[in-house]
Amino acid sequence: MITVKIKKIKKEKKSKSDVFMRKKRAPVGKKMDKLTGIAIIFVLVLLTIFVFSSKEVMSTIYFMFGTCSMFSAAIYVQLHLFHPERKAPKLKSNEYPSITVLVPNHNYAHTLRRSLNAIVNLKYPKPFDIIVIDDCSTDDSVKIIKEYAARYPQIKFIRNEKNKGKAASLNSALNMTRSKIVACIDSDTYPPEDTLLKMVPYFYKRRNIGAVTAFITAADPKNFVQKVQELEYYSAFGFVPKMMTKIDGLTVTPGPLTLFDREKLVEVGGFDEHNLTEDMEIGLKLHWNHYAIEYCPEVTVPTEVPNTLKKLYRQRIRWYRGTIFNLRKYKDMLFNKKYHHIGMFSLPTCFIYVVFVILTFLILFWNFSRDLLLKLETLAIGLSIASLSYINYIDSLLSPISFNSAFFIFFILFLSFWVYYLISSIKIAKVKLNLSHIPAVVFIILVYPLFVSICYIISFAKEMLGGEMIW
């Protein structure tokens, strides 16, 4: 009898804490234990060597991931063709809720003016406050913000004495406002005038909406690195999220611009201050607490993108480390029926896509480098053995790499999906690509994924070995 009672009590306690967990808390993300990390890397390296040792194993694995990518494409196409999207309701001007714009800034003096101009010019039926949080900038930012605060009374200015990070800055600003909606806009983002007008109605599309995101694009790309990113942003932030939002599977609330329901944001505990990608973390945390994220394709929001390869590399390492960290942190959501499509489809797809891209381009790189190495070796031996005419060698150096047909077909398949996503996204963004984009298109198809793969691998190693998290 006694044992039964104890069991009952235990059960009750468990169910209580379960509710508490679900409603308020998020799982605690831990740094990887170094020993476990090394073990995982060791196993993966062994696995890679095994995969690459034989053409048959390589192709089988490749075939499996190819099927997975076809599966996600089939889901997208289904959603695109058979599930029309529901329009957001139209709001009368007095129905628009109160809103506050939060602008975190850290050493963005060069973009701050343009960004603040855009934010001040945002149209909204009600007057709204703008809170600019300067996170201990060392450039002219403070001067510019003060200048704007003097000119526009709605701008409020907070300054952190110490560098606290973006998440902490936003959290401190969250405590200063009581409005229904907060819009987090980066100081290198230039939202168009109608952003708020178009995005806010999405909060009334259905119940339990925690955040509304928009179509993020690259702001006036000038050099090649930026042009490649422009295409990447088109292909990643347009069609796929539009389809994902139909099954409530959006995982990221892009940092440059997202609107949050303030109460829900506070309820889930605000932004995680110890996270490399707090924008992905908050998205997953909202889902963890069963709040939805909506996507508004009508607004394209240009944001500044890194203009050099080095800056891009640093940004990507941060993104990908954050992704890996957050996938680990919210691993309980993976294949969890409680989280519907996000657990069963969206998160697994995100994971599989990453593995697929890495695998594809490692194979490509492997074939290419092996071929090139053989050719260079041949050339070296040829030159040392006999001073033959070079024509033979140059001929063989230029000859294309031999692919097996399986690889080729899956590559083409994957590419066609990507092109389909890109074209659909471009239609959503209502822009036109021209001839000047051709080099960037070729680059993003053939070379850029290799860069992404390398970044992912480095990020993975860093995350596994528990390297310092530097923003």
Binding site: F71, G382, A406, L413
Partner: protein, 224 residues
Amino acid sequence: MVKLNYMKTLIFVIIVALVIVAIIKFIDEMKLNSLKKEVSDYSIESESTNLLFLYADTMQHVDKDKLCKVIEFSTKRQLDKGYYFVTLLKTYEEANLLADYEETRNRYFLSNVALWLYTTQSKTLCNNSEVTPLLFFYKTNTACPDCIVQGQILDKIREKCPNVRVITLASDTDLSIIKLIMSQYNVMDAPTLVIDNKDVLEGVQNETSIMKYINCDVEKNYSE
């Protein structure tokens, strides 16, 4: 929320994937068949040479000059045909996934062994001392830049001296006849050259060092 049938989608995708596998198999088989046809033409040529020798043995009064000319012509033609198979076979096999190349490859090497034997035999039969059979052992299964270079050097020699008959054999096959030849000449590694059935040269050799062992007959035209 939208309801999706993951199971149905998965089944559909698996069917598509299987169709793709079928297409891959089809492409691979198509490539193999085109090569198979050429190799079979090649081995027919060596069978016809075989019959020529049998003919010479069976019939008593054969015009030797005429016979030698025919044999000469036949082996030369076979050589020219088969020379490019080595690289072709290798590139095709590298790109292949589902077709079986074992048979075609073995057939090609067996024809090459026959060719080598006929060349040697015709040399004694026709008293043709200028003809120099040159066996070239290379690797098929592993990358071998030395072999590629050696092949290109031999290519030059072949063009320069029509009396040199370059015959390629793989050093890493399971064919017993090739293993026997290898043990006879003590061939351990590739590339290795066996010149005129007596001189064995291991490792990559340049043009001048090969030329020391052969009498290059530039003048004589064999393809009459």
